[in-house]
């Protein structure tokens, strides 16, 4: 007990449960001792005293989760399509600032670190339209690293925070690389299949029941395969058939959306510091299509 007190963990120390894993943490902690969620977020949501809803943005590494989420938040904060969104805490603005700064400089934002304490988190209050009766949503949206998601899927509980997040998510957006899928690559289909299978197992519904958590499947980089915009369902059925079949069988509320953020892509080539060749994609200009629609659909379902 004396030792606990020395670390500020005595019984009389106020404790606050983590919004992700519910572990108690001292008020002076920076991150949750159990799942590494930032305590500033935990305390902000607790201070609001409102029911928050977690929206998870999922997808493999390099699919564009950071860019998508950053632009989504930025568009919301600019009141696009009649939305009103208020960031709660300065940390909630970091992600969109990072994405906007990078993309105006014609570079993609840095890769999201694997460590949860280095992820960007956004806590927003959002609503569509105005008026007293318009419902406000308290949304918590973490920018998870694709590598961390892959590790958790491969070995469940490697990243307990991901497991807890998905268990508590009111909805999820599954981002899939449509450009790769259109080129015949099977990797996007397999990753999406694994991700959905993981969610299915996590929710642990009976076989005859389907998962009710709404999932928006977002076909990223659709500017490379414009047919995604013409008919997203048809595209998934044809090019991501494994994912399509699992969604049909096990998920009750799924919709498919095409999305793109980059108007044109070029490549810079050269030698890196070690003398090796590099090819760096350069987003020449930004042209947003289909960013808000998955979000709009998702919050109408949660």
């Amino acid at each position: 007990m004396a030792m606990m007190s020395a670390f500020g963990m005595g019984n009389d120390e106020p404790q606050i449960p983590c919004l992700i894993c519910e572990s108690p943490n001292g008020t002076d902690a920076a991150v949750c001792s159990e799942c590494a969620a930032p305590m500033s977020l935990v305390m902000d949501t607790a201070a609001q005293g409102r029911q928050h809803q977690i929206i998870s943005v999922l997808g493999e590494s390099n699919v564009g989760k950071t860019v998508y989420l950053g632009f989504l938040l930025d568009m919301l904060s600019q009141r696009a399509k009649g939305f009103e969104a208020i960031p709660k805490g300065a940390y909630s603005v970091d992600l969109q600032q990072s994405v906007v700064a990078s993309m105006t400089g014609r570079a993609f934002p840095p890769k999201t670190a694997m460590e949860p304490d280095r992820w960007h988190w956004a806590y927003y209050q959002a609503r569509k339209g105005e008026g007293r009766k318009t419902k406000w949503y308290d949304l918590v949206m973490p920018d998870m690293a694709g590598e961390s998601l892959a590790a958790e899927i491969a070995s469940p509980s490697t990243f307990r925070i991901i497991r807890s997040l998905l268990q508590k998510s009111s909805g999820a957006m599954l981002l899939v690389d449509a450009a790769l899928a259109a080129n015949g690559a099977s990797r996007p289909d397999f990753f999406a299949l694994k991700m959905m299978s993981y969610i299915d197992a996590l929710i642990q519904t009976k076989r005859e029941q389907r998962v009710r958590t709404p999932i928006a499947v977002v076909l990223c980089k659709s500017d490379h395969c414009p047919e995604c915009f013409d008919d997203s369902r048809k595209f998934v059925q044809a090019n991501l058939n494994r994912l399509w079949n699992l969604c049909e069988s096990r998920f009750e509320t799924v919709e498919y959306f095409a999305c793109s953020a980059v108007g044109s892509l070029a490549y810079a080539t050269g030698k890196d510091e070690d003398g090796g060749d590099y090819v760096r994609p350069v987003p020449l200009h930004t042209s947003l299509q289909g960013v808000l629609e998955p979000f709009e659909w998702l919050i109408s379902k949660i």
Binding site: G263, S264, A266, S287
Partner: protein, 321 residues
């Protein structure tokens, strides 16, 4: 020519902004056919071959009047184009001089492009360079008919008759322009028209055709909030001093120039295929700094996207111009 200069009034009733969708009876008289299909550039530049035509003088004058109405003179000038990705003060630039030329006051509309499609241009191999022949089969609409990507059944959406034609690649834009007796602007010419950097002791330079400050009421970009294309004659407050409309926003515009940008180390950027310079930004351009008179970017030359159109140029030295 003077009539085309400094115009800022509304387009004439039969100007590029209004696009009749009524199908006309096919004209067999070549000169009249050119007029009916709005190939006015061809009439004024190749008019000599029709001198024996009984109505040559009348039709030639009519073509001249229409060009005078639809085109505006861009005076000689010079442009400084950044050569690297980073468009910041002090970055490497290339200086180019531009000759005077006539620039269409609006982008080519769906209705205007319909005439090109209806005339069977996509089936006429002589209009297309031989290297494009294998690609022609890909230049179809949503229903598989020849034409811009977003059309259906070889027809444009009548509600968008006066909107800029989109879903056409650079080759289609160039072929249309040539078919009508015009050409696409070079990147430098486009910048000159938008930045209006005429030779004078004042060295005036405009970040936007209307001045130096962004004003979303003068152009159709993402922040304007329309979320789609608008008629080519809208946003008249955003006109350049000579009356050229929508150089900023609504749709990016194809130019005839290859994209020649380098990274910060001076190494040329490469694309999946040849990239052509596009300019001006579009209705979905999110960053206002990417819809200015100097912002340089490009697109694969065979891309047929929802936000790229084009406008035509007639050389000021051409007969009749």
């Amino acid at each position: 020519m003077l009539k085309a200069f400094w115009r800022n009034d509304s387009l004439s009733p039969d100007g590029g902004g209004r696009a009749s969708t009524a199908s006309a009876v096919k004209e067999t008289d070549p000169l009249r056919s050119y007029m009916q299909l709005e190939r006015y550039g061809l009439v004024v530049t190749k008019g000599d071959q029709f001198r024996g035509h009984p109505d040559f003088q009348t039709l030639f004058q009519k073509a001249l009047d229409i060009i005078d109405d639809r085109f505006a003179l861009v005076p000689e000038g010079f442009v400084s184009m950044p050569t690297t990705l980073m468009d910041v003060p002090g970055c490497p630039e290339v200086d180019l001089e531009t000759e005077p030329f006539l620039l269409s006051r609006t982008c080519v509309t769906n209705a205007q492009y319909q005439k090109f499609v209806d005339a069977g241009a996509y089936e006429d191999l002589e209009l297309w360079s031989e290297e494009l022949w294998p690609h022609l089969i890909s230049f179809h609409d949503q229903t598989g008919k020849p034409g811009p990507r977003f059309w259906r059944g070889g027809k444009h959406d009548r509600a968008k008759a006066d909107h800029p034609v989109v879903g056409i690649c650079c080759a289609e834009a160039e072929t249309y322009a040539r078919w009508a007796g015009f050409r696409l602007p070079t990147e430098a010419e486009w910048q000159m028209a938008a930045s209006w950097r005429i030779r004078s002791s004042a060295h005036v330079f405009r970040r936007y055709p209307w001045g130096d400050a962004l004003d979303t009421r003068r152009c159709n970009i993402w922040a304007t909030g329309l979320g789609t294309t608008s008629p080519v004659t809208s946003f008249s407050d955003g006109a350049a001093p000579n009356g050229v409309l929508q150089l900023i926003g609504n749709v990016w515009e194809w130019t005839s120039s290859d994209l020649d940008l380098t990274d910060d180390n001076g190494v040329p950027l490469i694309g999946d295929m040849l990239m052509k310079a596009i300019r001006g930004g579009a209705f979905d351009t999110y960053f206002a700094c990417q819809a200015t008179s100097t912002f340089r970017t490009g697109l694969a030359c065979l891309s047929r996207t929802h936000n790229v159109g084009f406008r035509c140029v007639l050389d000021a030295g051409q007969p009749g111009a």
